[in-house]
């Protein structure tokens, strides 16, 4: 079951690499949040405890409702254009993603022969980390960078579930809070940038002088 959800996670990564609208990114973030919370909740179906259910519920609230809603609000408030403005062609980007994913799967398969790990969630999480970095590298818009960062974070989360079956919950909750604060700060920063400069391209930031 975990494998199936990880496959869906990978498919969402493919979708995000060909989507050319900011809205698509937000939808994918919501979907990934949902998948992650379901993946975490699976062990608790057999072994129910109130304490263990806190993390999935928090994850669901933060990743599916709060963050996407906040990003949508920023998009509306600051009147950001809907296209993502890639620096390389989408086709090349997808090709890059496929090649990296193949390499990652092969590498994780080699790793799994040495140590105990669940190959599919491990490789999916790993790919999400790499693709998150690619998104930050090859897109101009700041708001898309935020989405890329969140995808990277989702990847780390999935990665964590694959390596250690039982996560230390406090740490995960801490990370979640961190992420939320980062997104929040990014929103404030965007607001300030928009009041100083027109547009949100990172290329514009290169021209700043003191």
């Amino acid at each position: 079951m975990e494998n199936v959800l990880s496959i869906l996670f990978c498919l969402s990564l493919f979708y995000v690499s060909i989507s050319s609208r900011v809205k698509g990114y937000v939808t994918v973030l919501q979907l990934q949040g949902l998948l992650l919370s379901v993946i975490i909740v699976i062990p608790f179906i057999y072994d129910f405890s109130i304490f263990g259910i806190i993390l999935p519920v928090t994850l669901l609230v933060v990743k599916v409702f709060l963050i996407p809603k906040y990003i949508k609000k920023i998009i509306l408030d600051l009147d950001i254009k809907r296209m993502i403005e890639p620096t390389i062609q989408q086709f090349t980007f997808l090709l890059l993603v496929i090649v990296s994913m193949v390499v990652i799967f092969v590498v994780s398969n080699i790793l799994s022969q040495r140590t105990e790990l669940n190959v599919i969630p491990f490789a999916s999480g790993f790919s999400a980390i790499v693709i998150g970095i690619y998104i930050i590298m090859f897109r101009k818009k700041l708001i898309v960078h935020v989405a890329g960062f969140l995808i990277l974070e989702n990847g780390i989360f999935l990665f964590g579930t694959a390596v250690a079956s039982e996560l230390p919950m406090m740490i995960e909750l801490g990370i979640l809070l961190d992420v939320f604060v980062v997104v929040f700060l990014m929103g404030i920063a965007l607001n300030n940038i928009s009041s100083t400069l027109k547009g949100f391209d990172v290329t514009a930031l290169g021209r700043l002088k003191d």
Binding site: C10, Q90, F91, I98, M101
Partner: protein
Amino acid sequence: MEIEILQGIISLLIILGFSPLFAGLINKLKAVLTGRIGAPVWQPYYDLKRLFKKETINATVSSFVSRISPVINFVTVAVAATMLPIGFWKPLISFNGDIILFAYILGLARFIQILAAMDIGSSFEGMGAAREATFALFAEPIFFFTLGSVAFISGLSSIYDIYYSIQLNNISYIVFIVICSISAFLLAVTECSRMPVDDPNTHLELTMIHEVMILDNSGIDLFLYQYSGYIKLFIYAILEISFFYPFSAQSYLVGVMIFVIGSFILALTLATVETITSRFKMKNIPQYLLFATAIGILNLLIYTFTK
């Protein structure tokens, strides 16, 4: 042995006979979904009958390639149709490795059609041929990564055996098959020039891919092209539906019922997709096809490494 041959012939006749009906069904459902009454489901048959009666006119500059192309096109597509199972009957042609023959015999049909399109000497046909060749290049890996991955996992290489080996009892295998079928659906959409890739209804030359190649054909030539187009659509529909046969049921009646229901659901899906999407920009089509290939690659990776 003789019974098997007879069953194979009946399967072939079913494909040849009902393929226009399937196309008509899609058009009818599409019309209903967009709030029109639409042409009757038998309309493709009337069209074929009308074309059959008309006189054939060839362009004066065209050579023998344009004359033989429709026939070769029809025959190759019909041969490809003999390799597919209907119900649980063994197809007429079935041997180890026929998956390759299936792919490349359809490739031959396309090749000869592209040649014929360029033979006429019109710039529009040449443009259509170039597009068809480009998109075929991206569509072929989809076929090999979807059907090929099922073949790779089962260790078999005949289409009938591959489909026969599908067992829908393991959850990861079901997901594998469902993802395969998504990718096969995208393949069918591309190969049969349906909506997100090509618009079968438009007659504006600049936006067409497949239709523009047969603009200068008429009469019996056009009849053969249209008919092989319908058969091709039905072939890809069968490729798609066959993923969901419960082959362990082993009853012909059940098989045929699932086939009919499956065709209807597929027609509805195609009609829905055509209703809710618009045609892509030409430059976006390769990335759409690469997306389907990516799904196939992911599928292969995942199943290889979980075993």
